[in-house]
């Protein structure tokens, strides 16, 4: 076991793939000598140079477009968008181009590209730098959406994402960047997309979550255990493809479901999962399916307001208890 931060997990995965495959390149705003807004690519420019680690102008449309065009011509770009909020500026290229090309052209063109996007609240960055837009991205057929919660998964999932022949949006939680996790060095290897992880086993209720809320859910599970409720926590790791099998087998065991994400609750991806469980495992549930999300507001600036809007362990604990 060794200690590794989430940011290091991402960086080392990029370094590994770039050493292995000369066709892997990284570009985005300030990813070069500056090392990226959150320091994720620090040191890569020194190793790989100007041609493979490219600073771009502040042109998100061109960043995603350059990924689409270069991937279509046979290289493997990693494009960093500084904040997920800025993907709105490059959304045509992501939604109308990247996600559609393979299908629209009858399967003739593959796009082995990764768009890395830091997401989430928690650093006082306010409404335009704190969003969680998973629902938009998972809604679009043709995109894969990955959202790791720890260094080990970030490393393994990014290795797989870079090799994937489809456009992958790799969502990174900015609060987790500096969080250190224990990493099993023997297990630093590709993790297949679409395989969830049971973060904690339990028998009474299934908490389905991902990203930063994995930690809140684990904290809630610890408290619930003291009150005699055994909660199973599923870390989805990949939002699409979705690991229905792991979800369903847990639901069949616990018969109660709480879904947790940091998205504002209205229209959140957790709603899709709730609907899927209701549609396909309705008779396995012996209580309403609960969803925990952020309040339906933009993310506010002031620390107390931000904490109020974003869900936490207490919200999860209360939601679970309401089912018993």
């Amino acid at each position: 076991m060794k200690k590794m931060t989430y940011a290091e997990g991402i960086r080392e995965a990029m370094r590994f793939k770039m050493r292995e495959d000369p066709n892997v390149i990284l570009f985005g705003e300030d990813v070069g000598k500056f090392g990226g807004c959150f320091g994720v690519s620090a040191g890569l420019w020194e190793e790989f140079g100007d041609e493979r680690i490219r600073d771009t102008p502040i042109s998100e449309g061109a960043i995603v477009g350059a990924a689409v065009g270069s991937a279509a011509c046979g290289i493997k770009p990693i494009a960093e968008i500084m904040f997920i909020d800025f993907i709105t500026v490059g959304m045509d290229q992501l939604v109308n181009q990247a996600a559609k090309m393979r299908y629209m052209f009858g399967g003739e063109i593959n796009l082995p590209m990764v768009v890395r996007v830091p997401a989430g609240a928690g650093i006082g960055a306010a409404a335009q730098h704190s969003q969680s837009l998973e629902a938009w991205l998972t809604h679009v057929p043709g995109l894969k959406v990955v959202y790791p919660s720890n260094a080990q998964d970030a490393y393994g999932l990014l290795l797989t994402s870079i090799d994937d022949q489809n456009p992958v949006v790799f969502i990174e939680n900015k609060v987790l960047y500096s969080m250190q996790n224990d990493v099993d060095e023997n297990e630093l290897k590709p993790i297949p997309l679409g395989k969830a992880r049971i973060a904690r086993e339990g028998t009474d209720v299934t908490i389905i979550t991902y990203g930063r809320q994995v930690y809140d859910s684990l904290e809630a599970a610890e408290i619930l255990a003291k009150d005699g409720i055994s909660a199973e926590v599923i870390d989805l790791r990949t939002l699409y493809p979705l690991d229905k099998e792991t979800i369903f087998s847990s639901v069949e065991k616990t018969h109660k479901v709480v879904l947790v994400s940091e998205e504002c609750k209205r229209g959140a991806y957790t709603g899709e999962i709730a609907a899927m469980i209701a549609e396909e495992r309705f008779y396995e549930c012996d209580a309403p399916i609960k969803r925990i999300g952020a309040l339906n507001t933009p993310i506010p600036f002031a620390t107390d307001l931000e904490r109020y809007v974003v869900p936490n362990a207490r919200d999860i604990e209360l939601a679970v208890k309401s089912l018993f």
Binding site: G61, A66, C73, P77, R102, G107, E108, P141, K144
Partner: protein, 328 residues
């Protein structure tokens, strides 16, 4: 500039293929055989032909909603194109793309595109891939005058210029963004002046003059192959048809179409070929007949091609996932 006779004949053939394919597409659309939207290239043939005559099979192009001409000029097969317009299984995209989304990866055709201005940055990406591989390929990016008001145009020219990418931006200025004339959609007369802002060469040529287009693109391609970066070439031309088939074209001043038709690019080339002894009238007549036959064969191929199976709707979204179907 001296162009070899064989290449001149080839270019003439390309122009005829585009003109005749498009005329047939117009008729077939009117007859209800082609669904959806069709945007025709009639009148603009010299641009795609003159530009693509400078390209190799391993060079790339990005195209637009008005893409048939580009695809034919880059070597697209009329049969697969027509079958795609018909929405058939043997079409370029197996019936999943249609007129606006034809691509052929084997010929470097990175796709026609239904989003105005989307090709600019894809071309930049293509240029990036070429530069990364250190080959002397180039990418020609076709787009219309109205797309130069999209932010993508400016982002792409800026990035291509600072990275010195081998991209040739070919603007087909046909005077209209759908129904809005150029002087109503931008305050400049020549799109090429926008090159100045990105410190790249910008030139305006007569887009109905095959040789003017050919020469301008020839020079730009040579620069790009040598690693000297992008060029913006504006080709002034005109579309004879409306924005799309079915457009009532209420926005054109009287006489404008007729004036442009007197500058039709094809008779000009025919005159040159005759006067310079490249082809005889009989040979041209024969070539016209040959192309008529090609188009007929393409239509026949399209009509005979089966409709796509419903299961095929679930394929090709991802390279490795087949989406769930439905039971009816």
């Amino acid at each position: 500039m001296k162009i070899a006779n064989e290449q001149l004949k080839e270019m003439y053939l390309t122009m005829l293929k585009i003109r005749k394919f498009e005329k047939s597409a117009s008729e077939l659309f009117a007859a209800g055989k082609i669904p959806g939207f069709v945007h025709l290239y009639i009148g603009e043939e010299a641009v795609a032909t003159g530009a693509c005559a400078n390209l190799r099979e391993d060079d790339y192009i990005t195209s637009t909603h008005r893409g048939h001409g580009h695809i034919i000029a880059k070597g697209g097969d009329l049969k697969y194109m027509m079958a795609e317009l018909f929405g058939r299984e043997d079409g370029y995209c197996k019936g999943k793309g249609g007129s606006m989304h034809i691509a052929d990866a084997t010929k470097g055709i990175l796709g026609a595109n239904g989003i105005v201005g989307a090709g600019h940055n894809i071309a930049v990406g293509s240029g990036l891939a070429i530069q990364h591989r250190k080959t002397d390929q180039v990418c020609v990016c076709f787009f219309g005058d109205a797309s130069t008001n999209q932010s993508t145009f400016h982002e792409a020219l800026n990035l291509a210029s600072i990275w010195k990418l081998p991209v040739i931006f070919v603007c087909e200025n046909n005077g209209y963004g759908i129904s809005v004339s150029q002087k109503r959609h931008q305050a400049i007369a020549d799109v090429s002046v926008r090159a100045t802002a990105y410190n790249m060469p910008g030139i305006t040529v007569d887009g109905n003059d095959l040789f003017a287009v050919y020469e301008a693109v020839n020079e730009a391609v040579a620069r790009a192959r040598k690693g000297q970066g992008p060029t913006l070439i504006e080709c002034k031309t005109y579309r004879y048809r409306g924005h799309f088939e079915g457009d009532p074209v209420v926005y054109r001043p009287e006489g404008e179409l007729e004036a442009w038709m007197r500058k039709d690019p094809i008779p000009k080339v025919e005159k040159y070929l005759l006067e310079n002894g490249v082809m005889t009238e009989e040979e041209m007549k024969q070539l016209n007949d040959d192309v008529d036959k090609m188009v007929e064969e393409a239509i026949e191929f399209a009509e005979k091609s089966p409709l796509p199976s419903l299961e095929s709707a679930l394929k090709d979204v991802y390279s490795d996932i087949v989406e769930e179907g439905r039971v009816r």
